[in-house]
């Protein structure tokens, strides 16, 4: 009889516990997708934030800014990372589908860095020379003060925001057909580190095994490295904002996460990774 009572009590406790678990709030999942340039930064943000907020799961994937924006439009991601502003045609799609123009949050600044092989004697280039190199008009290093060797071009895929930004703001024409497209800035850096006569571009946070090239606005100007100071002063000529996009104004855990990213703690990680804070 006693055993029967115990069993009943245990069963009762089990049911109460099960009901309790059922009503416990599940961890909130936030999906982040987009820019490959921003993927290291976004992963770092997520990793640090999740340590102090165990009720939130943040899933970060890359794929390129264009891919991220498409995912935002078709509802496959909560936050889109983009290294370029949204196009008006993309905003139109948000209007049509969600009756919204989307929310743009600049979350970091970046100086697009020119990567050269460490053995390359060239140390600075003008924006005009870069345009010539990446459009295929300048094909030999000797034309820009280097050795008599063909220039090997490495760039990003067309779904990349960096590809679009560099094309619109530097190349201002079609990329040379010989430009080898690679998935991610890390791949560009890796290729240039192995190719004596290679040149590539990408986010400032990627630099291992290659040397950064100073860039000047025009032939007579002073060449600068992309640093927090030169970017803040507007001296480095190839700078851009890095953005987060949402369909609507963030609420709940998503808002808390974005507020944290824009806080001094979140912005410190921007500097740690190699980008530049917005504030």
């Amino acid at each position: 009889m006693k055993n029967f009572k115990k069993a009943k009590l245990s069963l009762g406790l089990l049911i109460v516990a099960m009901i309790g678990f059922a009503f416990m709030p599940a961890p909130t999942k936030i999906t982040v997708k987009g820019s490959d340039t921003m993927v290291i930064l976004a992963q770092k943000w997520a990793e640090v934030y999740m340590k102090s907020h165990q009720d939130v799961i943040i899933q970060v994937t890359g794929g390129g800014s264009g891919t991220g924006i498409s995912a935002l439009i078709n509802g496959a991601t909560d936050i889109c990372n983009s290294s370029r502003p949204m196009k008006s045609s993309e905003i139109d799609k948000l209007k049509e589908r969600y009756a919204s123009m989307g929310v743009e949050i600049p979350c970091a600044k970046d100086g697009i860095t020119i990567f050269l092989n460490e053995s390359n004697p060239v140390s600075e280039l003008s924006v005009k020379q870069l345009a010539g190199i990446f459009s295929g008009k300048i094909r030999n290093w000797k034309e820009v003060g280097g050795p008599d060797q063909d220039i090997k071009l490495y760039g990003r895929e067309n779904s990349s925001g960096t590809y679009v930004f560099f094309k619109d703001n530097v190349v201002k024409a079609d990329y040379a057909a010989s430009c080898q497209t690679l998935p991610g800035t890390a791949a560009v850096v890796n290729a240039v580190s192995k190719d004596k006569f290679g040149i590539g571009y990408g986010g400032a946070a990627y630099a291992a095994g290659v040397k950064h090239c100073k860039v000047k606005k025009d032939d007579k100007g002073v060449a600068y490295f992309a640093t927090a100071e030169t970017i803040a002063k507007g001296q480095y000529p190839i700078t851009r904002y890095l953005y987060m996009y949402l369909r609507n104004r963030p609420t709940g855990q998503t808002k808390a996460y974005i507020d944290w990213i824009l806080s001094p703690e979140g912005q410190k990680l921007v500097t740690d990774i190699g980008y530049f804070p917005v504030k």
Partner: protein, 513 residues
């Protein structure tokens, strides 16, 4: 000792044999290894050739594939069931394919786009879009489009696959029939500036039904039949309202005309238009519209969109025989030849008319979460603002006593409105105001559920309400504006002095790819 000597002798004999045989074996092994090496070399060479072959094939395939990536295929199908509440509707419920479109977009080089979009409705294939577009590659600001494409207007350019309610507003359907027109367009949209300017020139007759004397449409292929071209322009500008949304405002104008196709043109109030009395005359199609779209983030997406349009819309008529213009007499006096010209005009079978109109629409759209959307629209269209509701159905200049205004004598029966002082002929107005002049206000309520990015289902209810029009006979209680219909052999009519029930329930499934 003997034993040792024997062992040594044996060893001495065996050792050379062993050495020789080992050497032979080693040589054999070397030979085998050499052979194997050669075989490996051959295999490597074969593999290298194979890899080279595969690489070549991949390069060829990539070249072919890169051509294919320049072709984009998109489209949508809308299948729907409708229940029609109008008494004249038979059948009153039906399944139909409203749209079945495939859009082919080919971009052989950056900035040059070819678009072809046929619509496959059962028993009919029509070309909706067929144009080429040249985009400026340097400033990324200008683009030129030529062919058949959407007229530049907000609701026209807003695709049916995205629209929140089943059909476009009544005013848009009236002034932009079939949405598309044949012509050329210059678009100016500077990057980073939320400004868009569109300037277009069209034939001007696309989508219009223009009957000849026997009522047959002379415009079935939409090929131009007059020298006049129509001009259109639209300007829009978008303001960002911080993180809460944005506001787009704009205006568009249409400046056009179309051959009257008849001898006479009537004013909007059905009086004779004296100023338009010439051979080869045109009827005006001039209007302007003002638009605004507000997007506001209130617990998710919320949009308020509207447009107000007013102006003059001409409709061609038809005539039963051609006009004769001939010199009838000539006299020579004092070396001066005088020609007396008489113009013979035949009686117009149906005059053209220029109607003053106005219309507007307002949408309120609310998205709930990622999958649900509700929309309400009210649209109003008055096709003839010069006639009050009780003037519709009555001749402006009725029979009985004659009247003379500006040398034009108005007299006779209902059918005769004027005597043309210039040509000395009777001008007949056998066009009387009627159902085509009645104003409509329409409420539309719609709910849309998005299964995913490609599939959505819409349930909508449309309530069109005509303005009570015409004069009611006190004895019979019947109005003088009516239209007849026959359902299952039973003839009946609508009396527009009442609001006629013409509501429609639509359940639509759309697949977009």
């Amino acid at each position: 000792m003997k034993k040792i000597t024997r062992i040594l002798l044996t060893f001495g004999l065996i050792l050379p044999i062993l050495i020789v045989s080992t050497k032979t074996m080693a040589q054999k092994e070397v030979d085998v290894m050499k052979k194997e090496q050669d075989t490996i070399k051959e295999n490597v060479s074969t593999l290298r050739d194979k890899i080279n072959g595969v690489e070549e094939r991949i390069a060829t395939a990539e070249a072919d594939l890169s051509k294919l990536t320049k072709i984009k295929l998109s489209g949508y199908i809308q299948a729907q069931w409708q229940h029609l509440e109008a008494a004249s509707a038979y059948p009153d419920n039906l399944f139909m394919i409203r749209r079945a479109r495939i859009k082919f977009t080919y971009e052989p080089v950056q900035g040059v786009v070819f678009v072809l979009q046929p619509d496959f409705t059962p028993g009919n294939i029509t070309v909706k879009d067929a144009y080429l577009q040249l985009n400026d590659r340097w400033l990324k600001t200008f683009s030129i489009t030529a062919g058949k494409f959407n007229r530049p207007n907000y609701e026209v350019e807003y695709s049916s696959s995205n629209r929140e309610v089943p059909e476009r507003s009544r005013v848009i359907r009236a002034i932009y029939p079939d949405e598309r027109a044949t012509g050329a367009k210059l678009e100016i949209a500077p990057p980073r500036v939320p400004l868009k300017i569109q300037l277009a020139v069209f034939n001007g007759n696309d989508g219009l039904t223009i009957p000849d004397a026997s009522g047959v449409n002379i415009n079935p292929t939409n090929s131009d039949f007059d020298n006049h071209k129509d001009f259109m322009g639209r300007v829009t500008y978008t303001f960002k309202l911080g993180s809460v949304g944005g506001l787009s405002i704009g205006a568009h104008g249409y400046y056009g005309a179309i051959k009257a196709n008849s001898l006479d043109v009537l004013n909007s109030d059905y009086t004779y238009n004296k100023t338009n009395d010439n051979i080869g005359k045109l009827v005006k199609k001039n209007w302007v519209g003002f638009e605004a779209q507000l997007y506001f983030d209130f617990l998710g997406g919320l949009a308020l969109k509207g447009e107000y349009i007013f102006g003059v819309n001409g409709t061609p008529g038809y005539t039963s025989s051609s006009t004769v213009v001939s010199p009838m007499t000539s006299t020579l006096k004092n070396d001066t030849l005088t020609l007396t010209t008489l113009t013979t005009k035949t009686t117009a079978s149906r005059p053209a008319i220029e109607k003053n109109f106005m219309g507007y629409y307002v949408y309120l759209i609310k998205n709930i979460g990622k999958r649900n959307q509700v929309a309400v629209r009210y649209d109003y269209y008055n096709p003839n603002t010069k006639l009050s509701a009780d003037q519709i159905g009555t001749n402006k200049w009725d029979g009985g006593s004659s009247k003379t205004v500006n040398n034009i004598t108005y007299a006779g029966t209902d059918a005769v409105i004027a005597t043309n002082a210039q040509s000395k002929t009777v001008v007949t107005n056998n066009l009387k105001s009627g159902t085509g002049d009645i104003a409509y206000g329409t409420w539309t309520f719609a709910y849309t559920y998005f299964f995913d990015d490609n599939i959505k289902i819409m349930l909508a209810y449309e309530i069109p309400m005509n303005t009570k029009s015409g004069i009611v006979d006190e004895k019979t209680g019947l109005g003088n504006v009516t239209s007849n219909y026959t359902v299952n052999g039973v003839a009946s009519s609508y009396d527009y002095s009442n609001v006629i029930k013409q509501n429609t329930l639509t359940l639509r499934l759309q697949v977009k790819f």
